[in-house]
Symmetry: C2
Subunit: 572 residues, 2 copies
């Protein structure tokens, strides 16, 4: 492609409204432009990357035995009512009415549609398993779209769904998809990690997320450097404490803590470390109110709390008014001591449950208690894993201290089990003629998000550094001052023809721009291999070659250029 | 692909709700399934065809210098308000509201979005021309979706848009797209014809449609076998009559025609041929009422009527009540004689204007006039081309009698001129620093419709006969009774491996079905080349080969199979 004819509007300035580096660089490199909040047009350079990602995904999905389909973006409400998600999905599901006033949704995911399709076509165990996928535009009406294509409302996704006769078959497909995902992200040239994850709105039992590791990632991942355990901190289990609760050593006493309503303030005022204090949060699920007690330096994991039987699947925090009714004080001064056990269930994180002589709110405004001991000053609590894991926590499998890293979720696979097949009635007959609901798995990859994640992981101050597999072009060819030098113009044309003939995708900068602008644009758009044709080099029979990731350039012989490039492939 | 593992739900019965053969065969061959009115899921076999079509389109568009982009499906209302189409597009534009109650549309076409993109990026004539396209899901809320994917609400389209500095540049791009479209439809293996067309809702001056010729086509095309003139009958010019109006020979007289309210009835009752009668239609455009007079055997072309200055761009028929007010009779008995020229403008088709001694309604219920003559019994009318051309009409360019054929519109290219660039303010500066609106062209191809059109053109009683370029697989391989014959099973596996190794896409029917079912399915899904492995052939060292389009099968040597297939490629 000749740059003079290419729609590649690069920007020198960093756009003010782009918060993260991938968003900034995608705008600056002329890959995308914003149409409206969370809606982006992909320009030619950007769409080339999308297509390269799609191609790798498609090849590996096909190789793993999946079959490509295409389902409608617009989905009838009836199916979402059957599955129960019309009411439960929330406002991210954009509901629309057609000209006949019938209800539809813009598809954020396709479990309902594919299950409807399969229930109509599959009758027998002999037709199973089936693994179907599509690469398609999705819409989720994010309340606060941001970070460019990283959290857009409209995006390109690969979503796959498998249908199985039994658990063993589901296990095999899930494993095959797990392996295929590893091959996909490896081929894309990304540093990634599969982690155990919560199942969220899609539902099901087992799930893994695939994260591209990057400091800017929204998700925190806990991983064990020893045994390989890795999980989203939203899910990661906090290992049970190894120490037992010490014997009580202090007397209970009430102290004034005027204006100290946070752990940090209380800890400072009383000169007690945060890990000797507890915080108490009041929540309600499907049953009555629950007081959740955590060590002062720990954070509540809402998923874990919701999963506790006392909350029964939901976790809604009580407002200050109700907290005062139950505890007798404002939220900054509450604690577990003296609560009415008829009205409030106390559940303590396992680390809070092994404390002795601790500090907590006194349930009287501007007062705290010191020297508090379970089983002496208040009843023994129910103990459970309620907290987020933190760096250094012991691995729940081998007790090695864990690392935490940040990641960008680009893939997610789930064992859905019979969640959708039961609600939608997708059943099959086994060899004995008995009817069963099919078991399902679902397998997603955020195709457009991968483009942004790749940039978050691969960039420097000058711009993007594309992995070879998804670079929009293989080679950036620059002609220096070709307007003044016919020799340069001719040589550059010859190189352009030679490289294209050899199968390279080449972006030929044939503009009459200053070399500085040409080099800056090449660095910005980040093509892995750069060749410069200039008079100085031609005097010596060479071009200037530089890998985007290399610090220095080197000579590439005009004779034997292709051989030279072959040795550099994979270097970047 | 092994058929035993493939989602290919073929149907023996013709689905009752499918009216046209492509819709029937796509359902029967397991290519598509209906999700809701006008919404179809593409199953694996069908989606393979879509992808093959897309690939040809993409290659030829790129070769012609166009650049691929991807714009959002969801478009903000503001842009459609700027262009004026938010109000004018009608209910086919599905209007939606997001969670913040802001107005959006599901994109039926992307002139507004691409013009908005380009007005933000292009400033100078040096950046022009630009030719951008996308292959994308579109939505049009058809009031009566039908014929499967032929007239669906959601469909895959290639839409392209060019931006030019001047008419000469637009002409060059338009010509390049015209040529590229020819290459695309030729490569797809379709019998097609480019025809002049009206510009319709998209607007602009010049346009051509590309039609796949098929008896079931919704459009009628008039074409000249001599000079190559071809046009949609909606647009085709009716050549001016060569004869002058004869001298009047009859006296005007009134006759009773009780119950005769159609040309056929009047013609029969009075024993006058239809081409000696006229019909009179009352319409209104931007000015006052107009009486449109046509020869009894001709049909009004509404586009031509609307374009007449008396109507001024719009043509709305008057209801019976208003007709009676103006003419004094019910619509079945009206005519041009005695109308109040202050209130009604009379415009006659050129063929009606050269009649003498004709028959028309008397403007009194159940009466007609005979022996009517222009300029004697009523004023000389304005004469214009108002009618649809019919088979045998003289070519407007060379007067050879024209043929009419039916076609399915699969492509449409337009010179838009400055329609969108002016309303949206997409301007550039010329070499002298003067500002001009860009000129635009737009270029559409109905990707998913092509799949149906190809079937309409290529099928027989047994099923589909795919052109090689878009066949879902190259070869259908059938193993006969492999459950009983290990030799057959082994040989079929070997052929399957050999063909795939050689680069063929093979659908291997490895099911334990009766041969009759296997053959019927192969004919139904229409793969161009069929190879059958059976014991009888193996005895003689051959497989049975049959092209889908051939009447008889023949022997293919087991040794030298690839060479044999190479000689058969392109035969179908």
């Amino acid at each position: 492609m000749r740059l003079s004819q290419y729609l590649l509007p690069t920007l020198r300035e960093t756009p003010a409204d782009a918060e993260i580096v991938s968003h900034q660089l995608m705008l600056r490199a002329g890959m995308i432009r914003r149409l409206a909040a969370g809606l982006y047009s992909w320009l030619p350079l950007g769409y080339r990357v999308v297509q390269r990602v799609e191609q790798v995904v498609r090849e590996e999905m096909n190789a793993a035995g999946a079959q490509e389909v295409l389902m409608p973006v617009v989905q009838p409400a009836e199916l979402w009512e059957e599955s129960g998600r019309w009411d439960n999905f929330g406002p991210e599901l954009l509901r629309i009415k057609d000209r006949h006033d019938r209800d539809f949704a813009l598809g954020p995911t396709h479990e309902e549609v594919i299950t409807d399709l399969i229930r109509g076509e599959v009758r027998s165990y002999r037709q199973l398993p089936l693994n179907l996928y599509q690469i398609q535009t999705k819409f989720r009406d994010e309340i606060r779209p941001r970070f460019g294509v990283m959290r857009a409302r409209e995006f390109v996704m690969k979503d796959g769904y498998s249908f199985e006769a039994d658990e063993a078959s589901l296990d095999r497909t899930y494993e095959a998809m797990f392996e295929a995902y590893g091959r996909i992200f490896s081929r894309l040239g990304l540093d990634f990690r599969p982690v155990r994850a919560r199942t969220g709105a899609i539902g099901g039992s087992v799930s893994h997320e695939f994260h591209v590791l990057a400091e800017s990632g929204e998700d925190e991942i806990a991983s064990c450097p020893s045994c390989g355990y890795a999980a989203n901190v939203e899910l990661a289990e906090a290992a049970a404490p190894e120490t037992e609760r010490p014997a009580p050593g202090e007397e209970l006493r009430t102290v004034d803590t005027p204006g100290a309503y946070t752990i940090a303030a209380v800890s400072a005022m009383l000169d007690v470390p945060a890990d000797r204090t507890v915080k108490t949060l009041f929540a309600e699920g499907r049953h009555g109110p629950v007081a959740l007690v955590l060590r002062g330096d720990h954070e509540l994991n809402e998923d874990k709390a919701a999963a506790h039987p006392a909350l029964g699947g939901e976790c809604h925090f009580l407002d200050g008014h109700r907290v005062k009714q139950l505890a007798g004080a404002e939220p900054g001064s509450v604690g577990p001591v003296g609560l009415d056990v008829e009205k409030v269930t106390v559940v303590a994180d396992r680390e809070a449950a092994v404390l002795a002589d601790f500090v907590c709110g006194a349930n009287r405004d501007d007062q705290h208690l010191m020297g508090v001991n379970w089983n002496e000053n208040l009843p023994e609590p129910q103990a459970a894993d309620l907290r987020m894991v933190v760096k250094g926590d012991p691995c729940p499998e081998c007790r090695t201290p864990m690392d935490t890293t940040r990641g960008i979720e680009v893939g997610h696979i789930f064992k859905l089990g019979a969640k959708y097949s039961e609600s939608l009635g997708a059943t099959y007959l086994d060899a004995d003629g008995r009817e069963h609901p099919m078991l399902m798995g679902c397998y997603g990859i955020g195709v457009s998000r991968i483009v942004a994640a790749a940039i978050e992981q691969n960039h420097d101050d000058a711009g993007i550094r594309w992995p070879e597999a998804i670079a929009p072009f293989d080679v950036a060819l620059i002609a220096i001052n070709k307007k003044k030098s016919q020799r340069v113009a001719d040589a550059a044309e010859a190189v352009y023809a030679e490289l294209r003939e050899a199968g390279y995708e080449v972006l030929y900068d044939d503009r009459d721009e200053r070399p500085g602008i040409q080099f800056n644009d090449a660095d910005l758009i980040g093509i892995p291999h750069r060749l410069v044709v200039g008079d100085k080099g031609l005097d010596r029979g060479v071009y200037e070659y530089k890998a985007r990731t290399a610090a220095e350039s080197e000579d590439a012989p005009a004779d034997g250029l292709l051989e030279f490039l072959r040795t550099r492939a994979g270097d970047v």
